[in-house]
C-alpha cells in the first residue's frame, strides 16, 4: 500500500528513532572515560581510572549482587503466582474473574510511588524491618502481572483440545502438564521471567520505599546525587548494557517462533495487560 517515498520515509524515521534511543547511551559511554568528576561538555581528557575503581569497589559488587538476588527471587515468586493465576483465570469461569485480572494489573497501572508508599507504611505499622525480603515483596507486586499476561496470552493461543486429547489417551493431570502444557508455555515463562527480572533489576521507586540495603539502581541514584564518583555510574551503566547484549540476543533467538521475538511480545503483553482487565 505504501508508495516508494513512504517506504523511504518510514525507513529514515525508524533510524532517527533508533538514534534518539541510543544517543544518551553514547553519551554514557563517553563519560565513562571522563577524566573529571563533573559531567560537562566537551570532555577534557579521558581515563580508564573509573573502570578499575568500579571493579575494586566492594559497594558496587554488593549492590550488584543484591540486585541480582532480589531480581531472581521476585521473578521466582512472579513465575509461581503468575502462572497459577493465569491457569485459574483461563480454565475456569467463576464469580469475580474479571476482578482478579484487575487486581494483578493494579501495581502496574498505578504509579510505583503509590505501591511503594503503601507497602512502606504497612511495613512500618506492622513493625517489619526493611530487609532484602521487603524489596522482594515490593518487586513481586509488579512482576506477577508480567508473567500472568505472558502465560495467559499463550494459553489463549493454544487449543484446549490438546489437553482433552491427552486426557483421553489416559494421561493423568501431572503427565498432561509435563508433556503437553509445559512445552507449550515454557517459552512464555522464559519471556515473562526475563522481563520480570529486567523490571526488578532497574526498579528505583518502589525500592526506595522498601529497601533494606542498597540495590544497584539505589547505588546509582545515590552517586548521581553525591557526584563524587559520578563516572563510576556511567561505567556501571555501560557494563550492564554490554552484559545484557548476550542474554537479550539469545533470548530473542531462543524464544522467537518464526515471526519475531517473544521477549518483545512479552513486553508488549505487559503493556497490553489491560486486555485481560
Amino acid at each position: 500500500m505504501e508508495t516508494r517515498a513512504t517506504r523511504a520515509g518510514l525507513k529514515v524515521w525508524t533510524w532517527l528513532i533508533v538514534a534518539f534511543l541510543w544517543i544518551p547511551l553514547v553519551v554514557i559511554g563517553l563519560y565513562a572515560f571522563n577524566g573529571s568528576q563533573i559531567q560537562s561538555w566537551p570532555i577534557s581528557h579521558l581515563t580508564f581510572h573509573w573502570f578499575s575503581m568500579a571493579w575494586h569497589d566492594s559497594q558496587v559488587r554488593d549492590a550488584l549482587w543484591l540486585s541480582v538476588k532480589v531480581g531472581l527471587l521476585a521473578t521466582g515468586v512472579a513465575l509461581a503466582l503468575g502462572t497459577m493465576a493465569a491457569f485459574a483465570v483461563h480454565r475456569f469461569r467463576f464469580f469475580g474473574r474479571e476482578s482478579v485480572s484487575l487486581l494483578f494489573l493494579l501495581p502496574i497501572a498505578l504509579p510505583g510511588i503509590i505501591t511503594g508508599m503503601a507497602l512502606s507504611s504497612a511495613f512500618s505499622f506492622a513493625g517489619v524491618q526493611l530487609t532484602m525480603w521487603t524489596i522482594v515483596i515490593g518487586h513481586s507486586t509488579f512482576c506477577v502481572v508480567v508473567v500472568y499476561n505472558n502465560v495467559i496470552a499463550r494459553l489463549r493461543r493454544t487449543s484446549p483440545s490438546l489437553i482433552e486429547a491427552s486426557m483421553d489417551l489416559g494421561a493423568d493431570g501431572w503427565q498432561t502438564f509435563r508433556y503437553v502444557t509445559w512445552p507449550l508455555i515454557s517459552t512464555a515463562l522464559v519471556a515473562g521471567g526475563l522481563l520480570a527480572f529486567a523490571l526488578s533489576f532497574d526498579e528505583v521507586i518502589v525500592t526506595t520505599f522498601t529497601a533494606g540495603g542498597t540495590t544497584l539502581p539505589i547505588f546509582i541514584l545515590n552517586n548521581l546525587r553525591q557526584g563524587q564518583q559520578l563516572p563510576i555510574v556511567n561505567v556501571i551503566a555501560c557494563v550492564v548494557i554490554l552484559l545484557t547484549v548476550v542474554p537479550v540476543w539469545v533470548s530473542q533467538r531462543l524464544t522467537s517462533d518464526g515471526d519475531g521475538a517473544t521477549a518483545v511480545r512479552a513486553a508488549a503483553a505487559a503493556a497490553q495487560s489491560s486486555q485481560s482487565a
Binding site: 559531567q39 526493611l130 525480603w133 553525591q226
Partner: protein, 392 residues
Amino acid sequence: MRKRIRGRHLVLLALVALVGALVVPAVGVSKSSGLPTSIGKGEGALSLVEWAAYSDKSFAAKFEKTTGCKITRKDAGSSNEMFNLMHGGGGGGGGQYDLVSASGDASLRLIYAGDVAPVNVNLVPSWKDFLPAFKAPPHNTVKGVHYGISVQWGPNTLLYNTKKIKPAPTSWAAIYSAKYKGQITVPNNPIQIADAALYLQKSQPALGIKDPYELTKPQFAVVVALLKKQKGLLKRYWVYPADEIKDFASGDATIGATWPYQTLALQGAKVPVPVKEIIPKEGVTGWADTWMLGKKAAHPNCAYMWMAYVSTPRVQAQQAYVFGETPANPKACPFMNKISKGLCSQYHLDAPASYSKSIRFWKSPVADCGFGGRKDCMDIQAWNNAWAGITG
C-alpha cells in the same frame, strides 16, 4: 457514626497487622534505657545520613581501616530530607541509618519526634575541648540531655562566576535581580525563606524583621512574594551540591546561593571553574551540625567510634578543609594550618565567637517565637506550605 468508622478502622489495622505477622516474623527490639558507659566491639558497619562529604574518604578511609566499620552513605539535600530519612521506615532511622548529621533546623524535630537517642558525651574524649557554645547548644541538648555531638558549622554564601558576573556582587540583591535572569540558582529548601527574610531585614527595615526565622504573617507575606518573583528569574532550584556544581561548570548557572563545599569543588576541579564566594553585606544564614544517633541504630558501637573519631582535632581539620566550614573543636587550628597555611583564620577558628555571632544559624520556625507568647509567628508547617507554593 463515629463508632462505625472506628470499627472499620480497627478492622483495617488488624488486617495490616495480620499481613505483617504473616509476611515476616516480627523483629523484637528492646533496649535498656540507660546510656552506654563504654564503647563495645565494632559491628563492622556504619550507615550515615549526611551532608555531602561529611564522611569524605580523605578521613573516613582511615576510620574504616582502624575500626573495621565499613561506611555506607546516604547524602541528603535538605534538612527536611534528613528528617524524612530518619523518620521513615518506622522512625528512629528505621534500623537502616545509624547516624545523621542534622543541622539546627532538623535536630530539635528529630529529638521531639523521638527518632534520636541520648548520647553519652563522655565516650567522645575530644568533646571536652569543644568551643563552649557547641558543647550543649540548645539545638541538640534538651533539659541537660545531650542528643548528639556537634560537628562543624559555617555560612551559606553567595557564589558567582567571576568571568560572567561583573562587577562583583556585594549584596544578596544579585539573586533577586532581573539582570541575571535565567542564570540564578538557589537551594530547594524551605529554610531558604530565611535567606530572603535576612535580605529584606536589611534592605527594607520598615518591615521590622528582627530574626529571619521569626516572621509574622505580614512579614512572611512580603518574603514569600519576593521569592515568588525570584522563581521567574531562576535557572533551577538545586537539590544536591552536585547539581549546583554541574550547572556552574556547564555555564547554565552563573550566580547563586551555595555552601562553601561547592565553591571548593568548582575551584579545585580538574578544569577549574572561575568562581568566587562572598559573604554579602546583609550577612548570612548558616548551619551548626550535630551527629545524632538513630534510636534504632543497628551499629551503635561503630556510631560512637565515629563520633569520637570526627571530634579529634586532626579529623576536624580535614573535614573543615574538605567542606569549607569551621570545626567545633578549636584544637583543630594548628592541624588546619598544616593542611593549608592560614586555613584556621580563613574559617575564623581563631576568633570563633564574633564570627559565629555574624551567622544566623538555621533553626526550626515555631509559632511561639518570643513576641510575648502571642504565638503569631509562621511555623514550620506554614514555611513548608509556602515553599511548595513558591516552587510548585
